[in-house]
């Protein structure tokens, strides 16, 4: 079973990117997640008190009530006479429940309003499109020349708002980056928006949250929040076309890329490969993971992913490519230049 051998690398990918607050709604790193977290603390507090009160009332009832067996005559007096003390206590308890519910509802409305009012000046605009089972991200800009596309790994500046336009190319997916915000569905035929801001630098993991078919479990992405100057530097690098200054073996690799199935689905800007069915590979070597957060990005895993993708991620739309040893090595060299 090669799959068994292959799967443990998942954990390597995980460990590689494991900065402390990784994929966790209780460790907010941005303003939106922070506000939801505040509401969470209030709600859990109130709910815990109510739970404790109900249990205490129940235990008191059990301990103070008499004991009986099946032969004990039933007490039907209550059918004829009202029970004013019980009535008062039940009404009090119901009243308290309603009051606490009102507190929670008002707090929820308040949180919704705050979430909707995040300041948006100087925002980064990203269009994220979900595919079975990977993520495409297009960084929009008023200057057409500054638009670029990447996949599965996003960088955002700390402290600047990010407006993401969410779309799906096939089935329903859900964008979820718990450290920064709650979920938003990506529904084919519809466009939705999510607005968030990272306030602490770090790398956060997100994952598709709506069941989207065979490999729903293997549709993760990484978001790196970094200071604005580093973000801008990264964006500038992403805008550059792939270098055409290649060694002989790298050129041979590019030839393999262009002649085999790779070119049918992938784009490498500046190389002439412009297909859009798979992730844009112009800067694939700069990413931490392969296959939508599933594998660590190194030469060995890239070789495995190119030659036997179905073993690593059963059902993926990436076809296996049969290559000779020489072709594979050259291709890997070429892919390694796509920084």
């Amino acid at each position: 079973m090669k799959r068994i051998a292959a799967l443990p690398v998942l954990s390597l990918a995980g460990a590689a990117a494991m900065a402390a607050p990784f994929q966790n709604a209780l460790k907010p790193a941005g303003i939106q997640a922070e506000r939801i977290h505040d509401l969470w603390l209030l709600t859990v507090g109130i709910c815990s008190v109510v739970f404790a009160a109900v249990l205490v009332a129940l235990l008191l009832a059990l301990s103070r009530a008499g004991r009986s067996d099946a032969a004990t005559p039933p007490d039907v007096a209550s059918l004829a006479a009202p029970e004013p003390r019980l009535k008062r206590n039940v009404l009090l308890a119901v009243g308290a429940s309603i009051a606490l519910l009102l507190v929670l509802i008002v707090a929820d409305f308040q949180t919704d309003r705050l979430l909707g009012r995040m300041p948006l000046s100087d925002a980064v605009h990203i269009e994220v499109t979900a595919h079975q089972w990977w993520w495409e991200a297009r960084y929009n800009d008023p200057e057409p020349g500054k638009i670029f596309t990447t996949a599965n790994e996003l960088h955002i500046p700390v402290g600047r708002p990010v407006i993401m336009t969410l779309k799906s190319s096939d089935v329903i997916h859900t964008f979820w980056l718990p450290n920064l915000h709650g979920k938003k569905d990506m529904i084919p035929g519809r466009t939705s928006l999510i607005r968030l801001r990272a306030d602490q630098p770090g790398t956060y993991r997100g994952q598709c949250a709506e069941f989207c078919g065979l490999e729903h479990a293997m549709m993760a992405f990484l978001v790196t929040a970094e200071p604005n100057d580093r973000y801008e530097a990264w964006a500038d690098a992403q805008r550059r076309e792939a270098s055409n200054v290649l060694s002989a073996r790298e050129s041979r690799g590019r030839q393999v890329f262009m002649e085999r199935s790779c070119v049918m689905c992938h784009t490498v800007q500046g190389s002439g490969a412009n297909a859009v069915f798979g992730p844009d590979l112009t800067h694939v070597a700069s990413r931490q993971t392969l296959a939508s957060g599933v594998l660590p990005n190194n030469r060995q895993q890239m070789a495995a992913w190119v030659t036997q993708p179905q073993k690593l991620k059963p059902g993926t739309n990436m076809p296996a490519t049969k290559l000779s040893g020489e072709e594979l090595e050259a291709l890997l060299d070429y892919l390694g230049t796509l920084k």
């Binding site: 954990s11 966790n24 709604a25 008499g66 009986s68 209550s78 429940s97 519910l101 919704d112 938003k184």
Partner: protein, 639 residues
Amino acid sequence: MTTITTPTHTGQRDSARQLEQTWRDPPGLYGWFAAINHKTIAVRFMLTTFGFFVAGGVLALIMRLQLARPENTLVGPDFYNQLFTMHGTTMMFLFAVPVMQAVGSYLVPLMLGARSLAFPRMNAFAYWIFLFGGLMLYVAFLLDIGPDAGWFAYVPLSGPDYSPGKRVDFWAQLVTFTELSALLEAVILITTIFKMRAPGMTLNRMPLYVWTMLVTSFMVLFAMPSVMLASTALITDRLVGTHFYNPAEGGDALLWQHLFWFFGHPEVYLIFIPPLGFMSSIIATFSRRPIYGYPAMVLAVIATAFLAFGLWVHHMYATNIPELGKSFFTASSAMIAIPTAIQIFCWIATLWTGKLNFRTPLLFALGFFFILTLGGLTGIILASVALDLQVHDTYFVVAHLHYVLIGGAVFPLFGAFYYWFPKFTGRLLGETLGKWNFWLFFIGFNVSFFPMHLLGLAGMPRRVWTYPAGMGWDQMNLAATVGGMMIGASVLLFIINVLRSRRHGVPAGPNPWGAGTLEWGTDSPPPAGNFVAPPVCGGRYPLWEPDGVPAHVTGLADDRREILVTTLMDAVPDLRPVMPSPNIWPFLSAVAVTILFVGSIFTPWAVVWGAVPIAIGMTLWFWPRSRETRKNAASEVHP
């Protein structure tokens, strides 16, 4: 305390023998397929649903084994997706809703003092349809063509483009089977409850359990058509290229979610409301007093039913529907906590002032308080738009829904089995095994599902066939698996208890718990016609009335299936129609309907040609017998 005494006069004994002869099902193999006695059908129905419960549980255990450790490869994604789809579909469509109707179809006539359910042949037909639908689904699953798009089957994933093949068609057709069965059962129960109550059982004397079944049945009538419509549109999208859900052709993917959850949320309450009736029955009997606040309890159940239809959007907060609309649904979702709180407080008040008899049924009822209250409070968390955006579609929701459905429905259901098993069989279930059953279930349940709340907050989404190590999810998943195994062991103990007690249990007699409602006023198990002399009802707990049962109904024919119909509000005797006798046509008609439903998965022509045998079956089902008609006409009295 009074019970209706077993007849002693020779005349009554003859009458009892004659009644048994009249109301029992015919013997032999033919009789087995022709049976229509509501108790026979209800026992089969309960056993079938319990079989599906065990099957769904086994699927869950396989999933838990797969998730016990990260990057496990016990099962692959294709099989795992079938597993969770089958588990959800089984538990919702083949266990939780039908088991409540099955128990109701046994108990309701007995609690009402009636000889039968209304429309007994339709009841048999509804059972066969249910059975055949469930078998179809499991045959498909065993052939590795089980559905794999989730029990909610969101389009477009479940549509023709992304789920080619027949897998989703089996799922959609199962919905048709089970909803047809549920709608028929609802009609039967409503008619029985409105028109066949014992004289004197006015609406405000009706047992709380019967109220819950009445409310549930009305909810079925309004909720089920929505999902039948949705699934039929899905089938036509898949089979004949309609585009209800295809945005590219003017359809809408969200339409499915609205239609599905307009059914799906009330469905939770179809599962949850009958157990509220179990709770009220068990708590009254084992506290030795009537439930405190009868009018409030009834109104709370009705309020729950109304509100249940106004909160489906809380399953859709992450979609891009308008924010203001979502806030409305937050309020309505939170509001449903109020009627539930009223009932919980009324039960605590009853326990507070009662004298308690700690038998197994009461233990299960007390388990409800702990688990359901926690599940209800996490429900309030899910009602909030902002919080839901974080925990939606994570293991937090898995935890919540199991706390609500297992705590709110399965615990009271097990309590109900321990409580009414003596009525079904004449013997009590073992008490020691019962306590083991309870404690193992209670502890196992919390070990399994409590960590899932934390898993969801720690970022683990639902419906993933595996997860990477190093996410901090490993220990909690392992705990969930261990707890799941404990639940499995506890259900095994229950099965052993049932098998042992059925033969060797303590004989129960008519009323082993000293309970107050009418089903305890007849033999255990009850005779074919339920009551030798149908009782007249003198109060909410007729057997606890100081004067006992005030009178018995006399004058009904005992040589044919004559019953007493009473008026809707006040249960004043009104008519005495004759019920139909057993025959094979409900079974054969169900076979014909099954052929049409299954056939239509493969070709639309099945709807045309399949209608022919159904028409023949239904015609013969209703074919009048002139001898019986003459006999009945002769007994008519014209005022």
